[in-house]
Subunit: 160 residues, 2 copies
């Protein structure tokens, strides 16, 4: 599997990954009704570097890397990762996160922060913990899950 | 003192409050070199409701209220407050925060979150604690203070 910067011609493949995750509304605090144009403008925004994970010309995952805050907070980065439905269970999120940690380190970031990990998203939490992230904050009832109601969100952090 | 929605003609007064705080770079994770136009576009952005605290036609403080996250996170709001140099020590931040809590409650928000309270900004931390906020997260070394180096930032949260 190759992880490389996203190109304009990856947009349709990225949308095919993002759309079902957005529409489900279970893991990201994003508007579930976002249009394709708005979602791609967000995921490929000028504030971000966006990557794709590709196997045999098939885009199986995508992630972005950006400064988490401007000014005095810009030495800490933030990432978001999405894996395609057909790519699940193959360690793609883990490989994208490891790649992002390397990229972040190479760019001089001192830490990586996830601002809003849905507290009932156990697979993600376990994955980030296994990659060295710590839970540094808990936001009570901060996420309204479509079937489980108000659940906590976690802030996770890893020094680079 | 009157707290009311900001009007277009308040822009110059708002900039006179924001500029020294931005340039000092001690309390907000914002680009210290931001232009007036960019700073006003941020503080008065379409995602925010912006208010001013006025006494005898003198704008002594300003704050914004916005959803902290879209989608499943939009029931939690976020605010930012700034007090003019000449308004310091008069309880203006406290009155703006109390006003914002009322406004947030009236709009149906369930909680208010501050994402990035600089950990050495003791006056602000004490004020938010006295207004019912709790420290729910600590981000190690997440803020580069212009004179004190890397310091922690706090996540503070209050149910409404």
């Amino acid at each position: 599997m190759l992880i490389r910067p996203a190109l304009p011609e990856d947009a349709a493949a990225i949308w095919s990954i993002v759309e079902p995750i957005l529409r489900a509304g279970e893991t990201y605090a994003l508007d579930r009704d976002m249009t394709e144009a708005d979602a791609l403008a967000y995921w490929l925004g000028a504030d971000k570097e966006t990557f794709v994970a590709v196997e045999d010309d098939d885009v199986l995952g995508t992630y972005y890397l950006r400064p988490n805050q401007p000014g005095g907070g810009r030495h800490v980065c933030n990432c978001g990762y999405m894996t395609s439905l057909r790519g699940r269970g193959q360690g793609i999120a883990r490989r994208m996160c490891a790649h992002s940690l390397d990229q972040a380190h190479a760019r001089g970031y001192r830490a990586m922060q996830f601002n809003f990990v849905v507290g009932v998203n156990e697979p993600a939490i376990h994955l980030w913990l296994s990659l060295g992230f710590e839970i540094v904050g808990r936001l009570p009832g901060a996420f309204r899950h479509p079937t489980r109601g108000y659940v906590d969100a976690l802030v996770m952090f890893r020094t680079l």
